[in-house]
Symmetry: C2
Subunit: 656 residues, 2 copies
């Protein structure tokens, strides 16, 4: 009899193509499904074009459009036409603008227990709710997967989190993941798969599990995995896809690399304070603060229940006149179901402001709050400036806390609704079969290879990337602290995202959140020295998976980063685009490098290839020091890096 396995191990074992399942060593796995959203997808489609792909090799690949929905000029609308044409040409499903947010729509329409999924969006792990192995990664990795290549990742440690007991009234799935963030903060999950198990699971619906798996991304986890059980079956049946269900549960006696437990009965309503999802306290600690906005929606609380409970709480009451109560319905399907179960009418009647289906304010696409005021959101992230308002005050919470606060105009523990409004906790009954709406899902043709791409004037060829040189003498144009997010490296929002297919333009926004002079100084360094490096602390480039946060700095001449540690997706993106991600041998050396210092590399190609320590001489205003650095790249990655990244590698493969 073979060794008993947990769910994550089973998923990986069934898809393992290369490597050993030893935590820390690189494995290559077969990918069954792929998911793109539009902000990252235009680049992926340009990459598929560059690769000369005839037809997607995955079982299912879907191009969603949920990010850039505010068409303030031709660019977003042009991209929608481009993505539609590319999906048809390369054999992907196309989920049209306004259809809904990728993660919940994918779960409802395409997710299958036992399958693997990569997605060019950091919240792709949401599909772990159905017993999938779902990993968010850079667009180039997704392009490679669509082209039939294995997906490479370091075998993560598997952390088993046992759920026992039952959630109290007024406490819901969002509070479970906020509790995890309270315990582990935004890098507690780095290099790990979080696998939930235990008796408590039976009180968490598939969409509740989506909430937890989705926002597991904020722990920095590789992914989150749930078993596929009777609840998974019920959910798939409610989507008229019962036939896609298989059972997938952990073997008795299986082991986890790490263990923890959450007693659900003990949880209270939690809230993440500005400006990190890891900044979690009980709602009661911040109760009473005045708010100007409440937003319900996003892939972190996408379920019919989440909107229904908000509707049930505000039913026949009035939203506080000082609060903009914004509702972002997850999908057009959910709107139909919300009409059916009266949630829509309850919300509208009480004073809600409905928006189109999509990510909206979650990625700074509208809904920026007023200066100096508090916004409460059921969303997954509150990094600085992500909302679109500088010095924003965004708090993250459950729909219960959000709806309660919308009524009072102040941050409110939803448990106090029992006294305030003489309410008992409303009980949601999921419909046996949901109304299904597939009207905006366009299937790929049998053979689209001869179709042409519709490229608007803002869609530009990718810039050429030079292979790594042996010697550099380049300046440190920026020194950063810990936990710098990709939102700070290249922010999202309506001003920036429309340039996602136009690298020279989008690169002008590189690091502007940290330093508005970065672009000019980097361009100057590129001209004068042929490039630059940047220095960072722990967990560099956490957050969103957007690969522009590597490609744009690369276009500005970024040769290397030296950091104490890296967020996983961004670390891969750097390599994919030919930026060398170095780590300090001794983290104290971080203090020895000043911004503006001149850095000299010698014999770089050989040292990287042979995994030698990489000696960096640093001239801080004349004073010379030597700092030892290293990389933790696999042989495959070293290969890619030396060529200048995956695009050059693809070109080489195509030529041969």
């Amino acid at each position: 009899m073979s060794k008993p396995l947990n769910v994550s191990q089973k998923l990986i074992k069934q898809h393992l193509l290369e490597g050993e399942m030893t935590p820390g060593s690189e494995i290559g796995i077969k990918i069954d499904q792929a998911l793109l959203q539009d902000a990252t997808g235009t680049l992926v489609q340009l990459e598929l074009e560059a690769m000369g792909l005839d037809k997607a090799k995955t079982e299912v690949a879907v191009q969603y459009v949920d990010h850039n929905l505010l068409q303030t000029d031709f660019k977003n609308a042009d991209d929608h036409l481009f993505l539609h044409s590319a999906a048809q040409k390369f054999g992907l499903w196309y989920s049209r603008p306004g259809n809904g947010v990728s993660h919940p729509v994918h779960m409802e329409r395409f997710g299958k227990p036992g399958k693997t999924l990569v997605g060019s969006d950091s919240h792709t792990p949401a599909a772990g709710s159905l017993g999938m192995l779902a990993i968010g990664t850079g667009g180039l990795d997704v392009a490679a997967a669509i082209a039939g290549q294995p997906y490479f990742v370091k075998m993560p440690q598997i952390m088993g989190v046992k759920l026992t007991g039952k959630l109290p009234d007024w406490v819901s799935a969002k509070d479970v993941i906020l509790e995890m963030l309270r315990r582990y903060d935004v890098k507690g999950g780095v290099g790990k798969i979080i696998e939930y198990y235990g008796e408590g699971l039976k009180y968490l619906s598939a969409m509740d599990r989506h909430v937890i798996a989705n926002m597991g991304a904020e722990l920095g986890a590789t992914t989150t995995v749930f078993p596929s059980d009777e609840e998974t079956k019920r959910f798939l049946k409610s989507q008229k896809r019962e036939e896609d269900w298989i059972e997938l549960v952990a073997d008795e006696g299986c082991e986890y690399d790490l263990e923890d437990e959450i007693v659900l009965d003990n949880l209270v309503p939690l809230i993440a304070m500005p400006t990190s999802p890891g900044n979690v306290v009980p709602v009661s600690e911040v109760e009473g603060k005045e708010i100007s906005q409440v937003v319900i929606g996003s892939s972190a609380n996408p379920g019919l229940r989440d909107f229904w409970i908000a509707g049930a709480i505000v039913k026949d009451k009035s939203i506080n006149p000082n609060v903009s109560f914004d509702i972002n319905p997850t999908s057009r399907q959910i709107i139909q179901n919300m009409i059916d179960n009266r949630a829509f009418a309850n919300l509208i009647k009480a004073g809600a402001r409905f928006h189109q289906s999509g990510c909206m304010g979650c990625i700074g696409m509208g809904q920026a709050p007023a200066s100096g005021t508090i916004s409460l959101r059921t969303m997954p992230r509150n990094f600085p400036d992500r909302s679109g308002t500088k010095d924003d005050q965004v708090y993250l919470c459950s729909p219960e806390t959000a709806a309660a606060s919308a009524l009072t105009g102040k941050i409110t523990d939803p448990r106090s609704l029992e006294k305030l409004f003489d309410m008992t906790y409303p009980q949601f009954e999921a419909p046996e079969i949901e109304i299904i709406n597939t009207e905006m899902l366009v299937a790929p043709p049998e053979d689209g290879a001869e179709l042409s791409l519709k490229k608007g004037p803002n869609i530009k060829t990718l810039p050429h990337i030079e292979p790594l040189n042996d010697r550099y003498k380049i300046p440190v144009v920026l020194k950063m602290g810990d936990n710098v997010s990709t939102d700070e490296i290249l922010k999202a929002g309506a001003e920036v995202l429309p340039f996602r297919s136009n690298i020279p333009e989008i690169s002008k926004f590189s690091y502007t959140v940290i330093d508005e002079t970065f672009y000019d100084r980097a361009m100057e360094a590129k001209k004068q020295y042929g490039g630059h490096i940047v220095v960072a602390g722990e967990n560099y480039a956490q957050g969103s998976s957007r690969e522009h946060a590597a490609l744009a700095p690369k276009y500005l001449g970024q040769i290397a980063v030296i950091a104490k540690s890296y967020a996983r997706i961004a670390w891969q993106n750097l390599v994919n685009f030919g930026i060398l991600p170095l780590e300090f041998e001794n983290n104290e050396d971080y203090d020895k490098i000043e911004q503006g210092a001149e850095v000299t590399f010698k014999n770089l190609v050989e040292d990287v290839k042979n995994n030698n320590p990489i000696r960096v001489s640093i001239a801080n205003k004349g004073k010379e020091v030597i700092v030892n650095t290293k990389h933790s790249l696999s042989e495959r990655q070293v290969n890619l890096l030396l060529k200048g990244g995956i695009i050059n590698d693809f070109k080489e493969k195509l030529a041969s």
Copy 2:
């Protein structure tokens, strides 16, 4: 017995404070109601502040927020807080962001037969649908009205349009106003009130009349007037306001200055082609052109019927996969009623993309179409670049034509649905009583004088305007053709509108649609010569009433405009902000002035005051010519102009 009067004459006579009711002479009328929207309203509120107003003197004044709803940074959200605080301070109702579009909401909640209304929005005449005298004008005029001042306007000619017969199937109110635009084009209504009467009226609901009155603005008309009859009573009853109804119909034997007739039976589905609402042809003439977008909504087709008919047409069918079928519900109230009558579910099911309640794409706030593609809209305007996409291809049509085309993916005469889908024309039954939603309407307090204004960092004090000088030697920095719109003078859209309370910033967009170098050249002229003038053809500054199209050029040093003729609202705005609107004595002289010419005025103050011919010497590259010009200002206006406009006049009044 007194002379029999038409409805317009009755309304004016009942409110006449100054002047004679002779077409062309200035009259001053008492204003009962005022309406602001947010794009113009922030400025009006700053003006009310400058005036030191304690409380609105009108019976009803309402601050709507329907334009700047895409909050991509702090600015729009800050303005919402500012407008809320100002409405409370100055005694206005506040219709919160997302509540709905001003004109239909005003009609539903506040409109009263027999009353006068001014609004800082060019579509204010929509309220003429209820038997009101409703005039769109610059924000300063509205500020003055709110402060209890009379509203001054030249007594218009009254054109009686007799409606006979009944609309055929698939033809609706939009086709009536498009027929008027086909006959009279965009300046055919200048200096006129259009008053509809006749037997045909009984087939036009109050909201159908709103469609016609609203888009009467596109004829350049001062306003449009309908009688208040049994249908008006039915409408007010459906809004639970039957008590606000009075009968107001034309006296038998009354006369009109001009007359026309529309035989409704003879109308066919019409469409306005790019890039003017006056460019009208039968739909059948352009049938078959491929489209990428259909948008239903705006104040030009705001009624429950308009959405219901679209829903009935697409019911159980599929929107063409190449069409973005965007629905902008007029108000939250209409959403509730659309849920109730299944229109919402029908539209969503077929593939519609729902947006928040507001003007949205109608004023370029999102919904820009893709480059080089056709967008069909039920909106009132298709001026160049108004959609947000340069070289846009926007067609204006009825909801019937729009919905039919959304199904086929091509411009489609809705009558062909009978064959294509074996349909009969769906018959709308208005609910006896609508679901009423007032949750987002905030009443003013009894006394708000002590409340303070909430001003975000982007809300700036108005710039000082200099009185008119006697002598100028200034360049012609721009020469334009006929029918230049305020959209071309200062465009709307998400890039520009957020700066509406920040004149130095917004002035950078002056005339950019026509000439991107304008700002730099005007600033240079201001520095070197102390100002500039511009030259234009017929109907200068048609379209939207936004006073920024006067205030921003003024800030850049605009002393005067010389044009063949002016659109009415803009002409008043120029005077209000101290810009002299000159007309050619002989229109042929237009050809004698080149862009770049140097223009000399002498003895200007005396000539303006005494209504002398104003001699302008013009040096075109050394060649000197003299051109005679004139103004048609009233004594009151001359007075204002010499002081540098209304703001200076108010300051003077306050000081005394």
